[in-house]
């Protein structure tokens, strides 16, 4: 009876062990790969994003205000920006502005910034009848140069009805004003009689911004 049974125990056992062994091998290789991939050194990503955060912050080393970099500071930037001993590279629209070492792998984070170029422009309004002038652009800094004709006293300068300069004895000369970025400013003068066309010249600071992508790569 037993002779008719088609059971082949020993070869089956060998094949079974081979199968289990092979699949365990594959599984261990997979697990090893997964562990290697998971161990990506979060240091790089953390350093890159914190450095990028610092660069775009309002009080960052290159900033004018949040997310706005000053063009001239960017030109003079150096690798000292890099944290600790890490290799890092700061690029603005693909152009390296600061680097230390040569980050070969590392992590990159990108931020959107504006690059601001400032220049001073001069407005000679030639004062029409109402002794008031509206600045063509919003600005934070302006310098008014007052040169009233003889016998005329300019007592007050207002920016949008806010008194920014006042001297009962008469204003004459050059004065710096701080203005608000959020308002279009109209400067008006109070004087004891009609002002001539040459009385007021305003120099104001104008910002021209271009957008750029700031890419920070850190390889610690």
């Amino acid at each position: 009876m037993t002779a008719t049974r088609g059971q082949a125990n020993l070869p089956a056992l060998a094949v079974a062990l081979l199968l289990v062994g092979a699949s365990v091998g594959v599984a261990v290789a997979l697990a090893g790969g997964a562990f290697a991939a998971a161990d990506t050194d979060p240091r790089d990503a953390r350093l890159a994003s914190s450095l990028a955060e610092r660069l775009v912050a309002a009080d960052g080393p290159l900033s004018v205000r949040t997310n706005v970099l000053a063009a001239d500071t960017v030109e003079n930037a150096s690798g000292d920006l890099c944290p600790g001993e890490a290799d890092c590279r700061v690029r603005l629209d693909g152009e390296t502005v600061a680097a230390r070492g040569e980050p070969k792998r590392g992590e990159t984070i990108r931020r959107i910034v504006l690059v601001a170029d400032t220049e001073w422009r001069t407005l000679d309004p030639g004062l029409p009848g109402e002794d008031a002038v509206t600045l063509p652009r919003r600005t934070t800094n302006a310098t008014v140069r007052l040169d009233p004709p003889a016998g005329t006293r300019v007592t007050t300068v207002r920016a949008n009805d806010r008194v920014v300069l006042h001297d009962p004895g008469g204003l004459d000369g050059s004065y710096d004003l701080s203005l608000s970025r959020y308002d279009t400013v109209t400067l008006s003068l109070d004087a004891n009689r009609d002002l001539g066309a040459q009385t007021l010249v305003v120099d104001y600071r104008v910002e021209t911004t271009t957008k750029a992508v700031l890419a920070v790569t850190v390889d610690a």
Binding site: T4, G6, A16, V20, S23, V56, T108, I112, Y182
Partner: protein
């Protein structure tokens, strides 16, 4: 059963083979967990997208408006008319600000501009309160 099997002369499936099959199945199950369950390293996509979105809101929130109000975002959120007037300019501006590989959607209290928001891809989001309501920006990779 056994008697019937013997009577038919039927071969019996070898027990080690069955055990091996079960064992292989088990090992493969564990291996699958490794293949799918391990975290990807590097900068998370969401973190990068959130950074893009918050940068875009900051830039827009600090920009002078086209006509009135204090900033560009305050202007578009201010009223229905202002939104209708500024929607195209806002869309162009956001398109300019964001890198080319991103799509976006901007929601203001009076309407939205940008593309339809997909539900299947990672998205970065940033909200900014303005004087007349919240403006939300979503960005995602095209």
């Amino acid at each position: 059963m056994r008697e019937a099997g013997r009577a038919d002369g039927r071969g019996q499936v070898s027990l080690p083979a069955v055990e091996a099959a079960v064992g292989v199945l088990f090992v493969v199950a564990v291996a699958t967990a490794f293949a799918f369950g391990s975290p990807a390293g590097g900068v998370p996509r969401e973190a990068q997208l959130d950074a893009y979105a918050s940068d875009a809101t900051t830039v827009l929130g600090n920009e002078p408006p086209q006509h009135g109000d204090s900033t560009r975002l305050a202007e578009v959120a201010a009223s229905e008319d202002a939104f209708d007037r500024e929607a195209d300019a806002l869309e162009r501006r956001v398109d300019r600000i964001l890198p080319d590989n991103l799509l976006f959607r901007v929601e203001t209290p009076h309407g939205t501009v940008g593309y339809a928001r997909p539900s299947t891809v990672p998205t970065g989001v940033a909200t900014v309160p303005t004087g007349s309501g919240t403006v939300t920006i979503w960005v995602w990779y095209a």
